[in-house]
């Protein structure tokens, strides 16, 4: 995983509330056995019609949306299934951070393990971002701050451990494997066995 420190990008805005994982990647793409190449499936049913033609009115299909690495979404992004294919697809498409007022638990957890930064901001900042698509923002993971082009800066919260892993580009399995001794003790000493 590539280390993250600062993400600078124009935003693309999807102003819809409760965008679920079936929109982020429809279930028919989940028959894959790898995690690569899912960018084409990101928002597939919103991006393409049933003949596979791009839908001209969809936000991600606009010329100015090309190359944007920061997605601003309506309230409560990523609800629904546990499919990690959702952050895999967004990352492969080129998204590096998602900003909303609330991000669903499993989607957030999956994103943090794949170099995709979930950023929760207050309602006022969110409203400004929704109203200003294409704004050049800067997300500083070291400082936990989002900088807006109007000079405004807001803090965001992120679990310290996940932040450390993201900034150093390391995965969390290594940490768990180092706990082997404690895990073995737990298994030996617990009062009942599953």
């Amino acid at each position: 995983m590539e280390p993250i420190s600062v993400i600078r990008s124009r935003t693309v805005v999807l102003p819809y509330d409760d965008i679920d994982t079936d929109q982020i990647i429809p279930a028919r793409y989940l028959t894959t056995t790898t995690r690569e190449g899912l960018g084409d499936a990101a928002f597939a049913d919103w991006r393409y019609d049933e003949k596979g033609q791009p839908r001209p009115d969809f936000e991600l299909n606009q010329p100015e949306a090309q190359g944007c690495a920061v997605l601003v979404a309506g309230n409560n992004f990523g609800c629904g299934s546990s499919r990690e294919h959702a952050p895999w697809a967004l990352y492969d498409y080129g998204i590096r951070a998602v900003i909303s007022t609330e991000i669903a638990d499993i989607f957030r957890s999956n994103s943090l393990k794949n170099g995709l930064l979930p950023v929760v901001v207050d309602r006022d900042t969110h409203a400004w971002l929704l109203a200003n698509p294409g704004a050049e923002v800067s997300i500083d993971l070291g400082e936990c701050r989002v900088g807006l082009p109007n000079g405004h800066e807001v803090e965001f919260a992120i679990d310290g451990f996940s932040r450390y892993c993201l900034m150093n580009g390391i995965d969390q399995l290594g940490f768990l494997l180092q706990q082997e001794e404690q895990i073995r003790n737990f298994e030996r000493n617990r009062p009942w066995q599953p």
Partner: protein, 468 residues
């Protein structure tokens, strides 16, 4: 010692390394359920790193999401009836399970079925356990007083390699269901009403505990329906304290402790319910006496009304987008809206009692002309039990299709889909855009409401169809 909630007791019992500012808690997992869709990339990680699957004895596998619901007796059948990519995913899963010594309930197993149906059925799901699966509806198992939640594929790999997960402790949320359910009103209507009340993000960051007189009166299958949809309120887990109903359900199941170990387990389970005075971060109360059968009208499970209640009129663009997608008119009840497909199945409502309820409405009646009705039992065991009771004949004589077990039309991965623009009344859990097929429209409802709608050919109140 301070009063603890059910969740706190189970959590505390599984902390291997406590959480700190530097890292989340290392939480031990007692049961890892796995299926073909969310595991392949995790098996690949084990292979890349040369790691064994640490506790094969605490791992249970089945295939359910992409499996066809037409009969498959061999891999040759599979190549014929399954989508090519789904077939290769299933074949890969067999190989992975064999290579890593995981017990797999595959096509040759009489215990194959939806992972959240077979766990309880086998007695692998037990009170006080931590249970995970790469599937958000793992919350189902909370009905037994287990702490059960869905995880992503990276975490599936963590559990395979270490039997542990890194987790921050969630907040707690007590949901009191009080009162007595009326005829034709079910657990499905209770959970839909709750989601309508607190919203699809209402439970984010929390573990729900369902309690109160209305929960105590439910059987285990209805309790599973409630816990199953916790995730639809944004909560990763929902729990119900074990009681006599729980213990009676588990007694004699293949994977429960035997002999003296059973008595010890029961004594331990009896101590799990929340202590008097246990504190919760949030609490709501729902009076179920006033509930009517519930149906969703929009594109998330929080957009829900009673069957005879008008769909609300709101001007916000998200709301109007959902109604446009659904082809539903605001200001009118959903009852009477034409139906193309009826699906009875999914980890929410595919157990024997769900099928019995649907059959009680259909018995001696016909599915309306032009409506396709698909009935998919939750497991091969449910299928066998239903056939022993003649339920399959009730369905087929009414004009419905009776299938092999699997997730099927809940998420349309196996070829069972709702055509674009058509409307399905479904006993599943998600009415998201395109969930049941590209362009498909979904109305979530209970098995009796779904069955009544099949007969009427339009969204229908089940109560006039119930036998007295």
């Amino acid at each position: 010692m301070s009063a603890k909630s059910l969740f706190e007791k189970v959590w505390d019992d599984h902390v291997v390394v406590p959480e700190s500012a530097d890292h989340p808690a290392v939480l031990y997992i007692d049961l890892h359920l796995t299926h073909e869709v969310t595991s392949p990339q995790a098996f690949s990680v084990l292979r890349e790193r040369g790691l064994p699957l640490r506790r094969t004895d605490l791992t249970l596998a089945t295939m359910d999401h992409s499996t066809p619901t037409l009969p498959v007796r061999s891999f040759r059948d599979l190549q014929v009836v399954a989508e090519p990519k789904a077939a290769s995913q299933i074949v890969q899963f067999e190989k992975n399970c064999a290579e890593f010594n995981v017990t797999l309930h595959g096509f040759d197993s009489e215990h194959r079925g939806i992972v959240h149906v077979i766990g309880p059925e086998l007695g692998a799901t037990q009170p006080g356990k931590t249970i995970v699966c790469g599937d958000s509806h793992t919350s189902t198992h909370g009905a037994f007083g287990a702490l059960a939640f869905g995880i992503g594929t990276t975490e599936v790999g963590h559990v395979m390699a270490t039997q542990c997960l890194l987790q921050r402790r969630p907040k707690t949320f007590a949901v009191n269901f009080e009162g007595q359910l009326g005829d034709g009103v079910t657990a499905k209507d209770m959970i839909l009403a709750l989601i309508g009340q607190i919203g699809v993000g209402g439970g984010v960051g929390h573990v729900l505990e369902y309690r109160g007189s209305a929960i105590a009166g439910l059987d285990m299958e209805q309790r599973m329906t409630i816990c199953n949809m916790s995730i639809e309120a944004g909560a990763r887990a929902g729990m119900i304290a074990p009681d006599d109903t729980t213990i009676e359900y588990l007694a004699g199941r293949p994977m429960v402790p035997q002999g003296a170990a059973w008595d010890e387990a029961v004594a331990r389970w009896r101590a799990l319910p929340s202590d008097p005075g246990a504190r919760f971060d949030r609490e709501v109360t729902v009076d179920v006496s006033a509930l009517r059968p519930m149906v969703t009208f929009g594109t998330n499970p929080g957009m829900v009304v009673a069957i005879d209640e008008a769909v609300p009129e709101r001007s916000d663009p998200n709301f109007r987008k959902a109604l446009d997608y659904m082809g539903v008119t605001a200001g009118r009840p959903l009852a009477g809206h034409p139906v193309d497909v009826v699906f009875i199945g999914s980890c929410t409502n595919s157990r024997l009692s769900d099928l019995e309820q649907a059959a009680s409405v259909l018995r001696g009646r016909r599915v309306a002309e032009g409506v396709r009705m698909l009935v998919v039992p939750g497991s091969q065991q449910v299928k066998k039990a239903a056939e022993a009771r003649g339920l399959d004949r009730v369905f087929t004589e009414a004009g419905a299709e009776w299938r092999e077990s699997g997730c099927s039309m809940c998420l349309g991965m196996n070829g069972d889909t709702v055509p674009s623009g058509q409307l399905a009344v479904s006993t599943s859990n998600r009415n998201f855009e395109g969930r049941q097929g590209q362009g498909a429209r979904t109305v979530l409802a209970s098995p009796v409401t779904a069955a009544a709608s099949a007969i009427a050919g339009s969204v229908a109140d089940p109560r006039p169809y119930l036998a007295n």
